[in-house]
Amino acid sequence: MTKDHALTERHRTAYLFLLPSLILLTLVAAWPLLRTIWLAFTDATLSNPDINWVGLENFKGVLSDPDWWHSVRNTLTFTFISVGLETLLGLGIALLLHREFFGRGILRAAVMVPWAIPTVVSAKMWSWMFNDNYGVINNILQKLGVIDGPLAWMADNPALSMAAVVIVDVWKTTPFMTLLILAGIQSIPLQVYQSAAVDGASGFRTFWKITLPLIKPALVVAVVFRCLDALRIFDLIFIMTNNSNDTATMSVYARNNMIAFGDLGYGSAASTLVFAFIAIFTVIYVQFSRLNLVGGSSEKVSL
């Protein structure tokens, strides 16, 4: 057997092994994506199978709709505030959980519980807690004297509804942040800290000069993941705020047009825009963080 022959043989085997996952990805990812993009250029509706090419009409429609821009603003607000809070809280909790104390193992497991609960369940659960008449949150706030009367969290006030949604998202996904950041912290060898102690670095300086730069790669990955999730947020908002326009995000907008109004083409155009939005964000963020990472340690800390 010649060398070339052996090589092609090996390549063929490699493709054979890859084939099942390639087929699966085509079916569940590539096909729906391409079909949605194609539908965005048509006048397809849920009820009408007669499909005509309409060019950029749908996109023009979406981009000139104030409701769309409102949903973009909502999405960005939600993403910025919730991911910001989750990062700060996740970092704080990760630093605490990294310390050795009695019951650390149990606490580490307990912290993960909100992340393990399905979103629909926690959304419903929190909806009840936020209920203006029977909700435990209004009850506690009133007893504490923070508010005079019950707040209508999910109704009149868009800012209040957004706050409630952000609170639930922070509660739910801070554990995810904590976990990723904790993994980053734990990859820093103990001797590096001991070395810093010998060098006379205070706790504060050790954090800024040693811990933070060294967990930056983990932090960047965590923030990207969370942003991608937050930018396409749908379930939590859809369930908690009863499909209200005040808190609708891009995904909710797309879904409403597609399903509620049956306008498949228009909704697909909105969906395609969400996709483009997230793709552009990812490329920019990864590019930006890679540039910054030259100064950090992108590989596993090697000493």
């Binding site: 001991q194 070395s195 300086r205 730069p213 340690s297 090697s302 000493l303």
Partner: protein, 364 residues
């Protein structure tokens, strides 16, 4: 003049695991003291107690007469080289070396002068802008040493600094450390499990076992006058032979040692009253103090031979005890050959039932 003194120091982990039962130790100023011992003997713990990276459970540690038992690491006048080097991976070599000085609020110029001076000594000049990951193992090691030197410490602590290097590099770095040691006016404490490093670098060796000092002294004293079987067996390579023997007769402080594998008895001067006739004893003799000569005291049966060019090692047994001989290159022996061994009389050690060396060294 920074003598390091342990006074009744104990170290107990989480209230139950005793690492250091109670130690009293005086490490002379401006000398290099090596802690050796098997893993788990507490040598690294002692170093961390000096550094302040471990909290002393009880007792007192002073550096240069100053009580530092509860002082933070940075306030002890120490610098430390870690086994893993523990360089800051995200900082350049320069930043690594400058970090402590920046914290101490030295001026920019001072920092630059100090770092470049140390970089010159250690030939780190061309590497100052590199990150640790761009350096070889030996270079990282030099940076770790440089980072410690920059701080101009009173006490220089080294925790198994060469154990992550390959054999050839280890020899180079050992020589480099010996050179630094000569030019440095500091007390050095060096932890290793490598007896060659201990023998070559130390002014004093402290042999530890289970947190207890078995013996402390200059390398050659420890080599030639080990106080017990543990110390005798720990230093020297190949290690000392221990041959099961019997006290045939006692005349004053001279005993005649014999037993299985002895062609004739061997006389040794021991401490008075150490043995009575018929006692069991352990004869200690290093491989290099045995020679193949007719009419020797020991009857040796060969099993394996290693030719190392400049010398040869012959493994076998004397009676029921394993025995190794180190000789000049020699003819090949067949397994099972019987040889007569002559023992170098002034290098004999005799261990009693409690494994103490009872031989009288003054006679030498």
């Amino acid at each position: 003049m920074s003598e390091v003194v342990f006074e009744n120091v104990t170290k107990i982990y989480s209230g139950k695991t005793t690492i250091i039962p109670k130690i009293n130790l005086r490490l002379p100023a401006n000398e290099l003291t090596v802690f050796v011992g098997p893993s788990g003997c507490g040598k690294s713990t002692l170093l961390k107690l000096i550094a302040g990276l471990e909290e002393t459970t009880d007792g007192k540690i002073t550096i240069g007469g100053r009580d530092v038992t509860y002082a933070p690491p940075a306030k002890r006048g120490i610098a430390m080289v870690f086994q893993s080097y523990a360089l800051y991976p995200h900082m350049t070599v320069f930043e690594n070396m400058a970090f402590a000085l920046q914290i101490a609020k030295s001026s920019k110029e001072e920092i630059r002068n100090r770092v470049s001076e140390v970089a010159r000594i250690l030939q780190l000049g061309p590497l100052l802008d590199r990150k640790p990951r761009q350096l070889s193992g030996g270079q990282r090691q030099r940076v770790a040493i440089g980072r410690a030197l920059v701080r101009n410490p009173d006490v220089f602590l080294l925790d198994e600094p060469l154990s992550n290097l390959d054999a050839a590099l280890r020899v180079d770095m050992r020589i480099e450390i010996a050179k630094i040691r000569q030019s440095l006016n500091a007390t050095m404490v060096y932890v290793t499990h490598d007896q060659v490093e201990a023998m070559t670098l130390a002014d004093n060796i402290v042999v530890l076992r289970a947190g207890v000092v078995e013996q402390m002294g200059p390398p050659l004293e420890i080599y030639h006058k080990p106080v017990n079987k543990f110390v005798a067996g720990f230093l020297g390579s190949p290690s000392m032979n221990f041959i099961e023997a019997k006290i045939e007769s006692v005349q004053g402080d001279i005993v005649q040692i014999g037993g299985e594998g002895f062609a004739k008895t061997l006389a040794a001067k021991v401490k008075p009253g150490a043995f009575k006739s018929g006692d069991r004893a352990l004869l200690g003799i290093r491989p290099e103090h045995l020679s193949i000569e007719s009419d020797g005291e020991l009857q040796f049966v060969t099993s394996l031979q290693e030719q190392l060019g400049d010398h040869a090692l012959i493994y076998g047994s004397v009676g029921a005890s394993k025995c190794t001989i180190k000789t000049s290159p020699t003819r090949a022996f067949k397994a099972g050959e019987s040889l007569s061994l002559k023992v170098q009389a002034d290098e004999v050690h005799v261990f009693d039932a409690s494994e103490k060396n009872v031989v009288v060294f003054e006679a030498r």
